[in-house]
Symmetry: C2
Subunit: 230 residues, 2 copies
């Protein structure tokens, strides 16, 4: 069976958890605290980041975008119309553009700083950067999220799903990153009703269910987190 | 003919310039000053970053990693043993891992801050962040580069090229990022002789020649920049 090294609130890991659930791939989830810089984990991914996928055929596939390509190359054709990276090269560019948008841009501007400040720092020892959250950091992230929601709304006004007429990695990446912020109650859903409706659609998929069970010790999820009619 | 929107000292653009030269693809180069946030350019890439490739078959391919995938999907098979992304899925993971390493990690820790502080800021108006370089930023980058050179040396002690026995995107991405830092004279080549020898091999390829002609107005390149026997 596949093994996925992840953190429950790492948005990149959540993107892959959703993707493998959509593909019907079972994996053992092993929680990795990246700040511990475990030697055996660094051997799997010298960059020291989650997620990392291990399978019988390969010792290590590190990083969400690389795992997504690997899954498509090893399973894509068999998925037929449920494939998450379309067959047409131009359509693949649009999916990859939006995956990059949410993993790099939304990640750097919103989800990574919020998760780092509000979740990771609670569990990190002081000597590697743990401690109370920095309000300046999360104020910026909470302001940045508004234009990203508007961008999702803009795209969904033209298309059924983020990258076109079919569900793709783009939707799963975006929803994975948003779901971490949603746990914290920091998504201003009133900002764009079309974006909210799209998220409700993704959130109601069976692949999303396992995310609802994740909990941060001592920090309850926002009331809307697992609510399908938020 | 293809059009590549780039900046001469954008390391991501250089990665694609090297790649298309290796593939024998001709392209018109159009210099883009991303800080101007030109509307016509933002329409090609809403993220506002270089490089962007435009071809007859597609309106826009934004971002070096996405362009590299596009080029492989549209030309890869015809290149046979000169293909820059190998055919085997496991080997593709290793190439993509190292491309991600150099574009994301080396980019964020070394080449982007150095190019931004020492080159871009000379030409950016003050109201969008132009001005004198911040020594704290480039001191950190000049310290970070050392472990990256050691990592290149470590890999090349085991393999002919960075990702295996054949030249790949990994070599071109790494060399593209290093070449920007080399212009500034900030690569401590004495740090690792094996890394230096690998760079000399990549640098002597015909694809590298056009990079040697790039100049920053009012800033001469380091003496070793275009020297094949540095």
């Amino acid at each position: 069976m596949a093994i996925l090294y992840h953190h429950p609130f790492c948005p990149h890991s959540r993107f892959i958890r959703l993707s493998i659930a959509e593909m019907g791939i079972e994996a053992d989830l092993i929680e990795e605290k990246v700040w511990e810089r475990r030697e055996a984990f660094l051997a799997l991914n010298p960059a020291g980041t989650t997620p990392v996928l291990v399978e019988e055929q390969i010792a290590s596939v590190p990083g969400s975008r690389i795992i997504a390509e690997w899954l498509d190359e090893t399973r894509g054709l068999a998925l037929n119309d449920r494939r998450l990276l379309p067959e047409n090269p131009s359509a693949r560019v649009e999916v990859r553009r939006l995956v990059a948008w949410f993993t790099e841009k939304f990640g750097a501007e919103v989800s990574e700083p919020l998760v780092h400040e509000k979740i990771y720092k609670r569990f990190m020892p002081g000597d590697v950067g743990g401690g109370p959250p920095d309000p300046a950091v999360f104020r910026a992230a909470k302001s940045n999220i508004r234009y990203h929601l508007k961008y999702i709304g803009y795209l969904i006004r033209q298309r059924k799903w983020l990258a076109g007429e079919a569900l793709s990695y783009a939707d799963l990446a975006a929803a994975a990153h948003l779901s971490c912020v949603d746990y914290l109650g920091d998504v201003p859903w009133d900002e764009d009703a079309v974006a909210r409706d799209w998220y409700a659609r993704v959130k109601s998929r069976p692949s999303f269910r396992t995310l609802f069970e994740d909990r941060v010790l001592g920090m309850a999820p926002s009331p809307v987190y697992a609510d399908l009619d938020f």
